[in-house]
């Protein structure tokens, strides 16, 4: 089980670093149009910042900020955003994932609609990658037992 770190240096450094990491992750996702980057890379950085919070501030603190259900919802939402944008293009009369059809909704020309469509799907990819990276890290580091289950299990075993 991942508990809270007692070391004030580790906690302070993590508290200072995490906002920068998350801001940088958003930058990597948003700036994928102009420089190396995109949803996959930014999502991994975002997931890594969550992992850093988990190993420094403990599971309970992180659960308060990002409950398990919300995490899985974000992961599914990412794929849904991606597929949904594709489906929206289909509804608007184009091919699947033909973002130029979005120009009707967004009110820009076809090229910029495609640019914004790319941004939309990159955001979806970022959501999914962030949630899955953090979830896998969490499952491997705890052996798959959620701390609240572990506590309950411990109590049950104690009663026996």
């Amino acid at each position: 089980m991942i508990g809270k770190s007692d070391d004030i240096i580790i906690k302070t450094i993590a508290r200072i670093f995490v906002p920068f990491l998350q801001l940088y992750a958003l930058y990597v996702i948003m700036h994928g149009h102009y420089s190396p980057g995109g949803g996959f890379q930014g999502g991994v950085i975002l997931g890594a910042s969550m992992a850093l919070l988990l190993i420094t501030h403990g599971y309970d603190e992180l659960k308060r900020r990002l409950p398990e259900g919300v995490l899985l919802l974000l992961g599914s939402l990412g794929v849904l955003i991606y597929a949904g944008i594709g489906l929206l293009c289909l509804i608007l009369g184009g091919n699947y994932l033909d973002y130029s059809q979005l120009s009707v909704i967004l009110g820009v020309d076809a090229a910029h609609a495609r640019s914004l469509g790319i941004l939309g799907v990159e955001l979806g990819v970022g959501f999914t990658v962030m949630a899955i990276m953090y979830s896998i890290f969490f499952d491997i580091s705890t052996g798959g037992i959620l701390p609240e289950d572990q506590r309950r299990e411990g109590r049950v075993e104690g009663e026996r």
Partner: protein, 96 residues
Amino acid sequence: MKTLSLIVSIIVGAFLMYGTIDMPAWGDPDSPASTHVSPYYITHTEVDTATPNMVTSVLADYRGYDTLGETTVIFTAGMACILLLRRRGGRNKDRG
């Protein structure tokens, strides 16, 4: 048996290396990979998608269907990890 495996892998390896002789030189502009759709992407990315980074435009626009599949693969991998690794409260009855 070990000697036989070694001989087989050396022969297969030699064939594979022989196969690479016919491959175009590294970064050859006349290679089939560089003459088919790549010039179109290089020249049209800015006009078509208003995105200067052609890697991004190929990844998410021209080959968007592929990236949708990749995202689904990552999502499926995560779900599989949760199914395999996580033991929720309800499952404890089976174990105990």
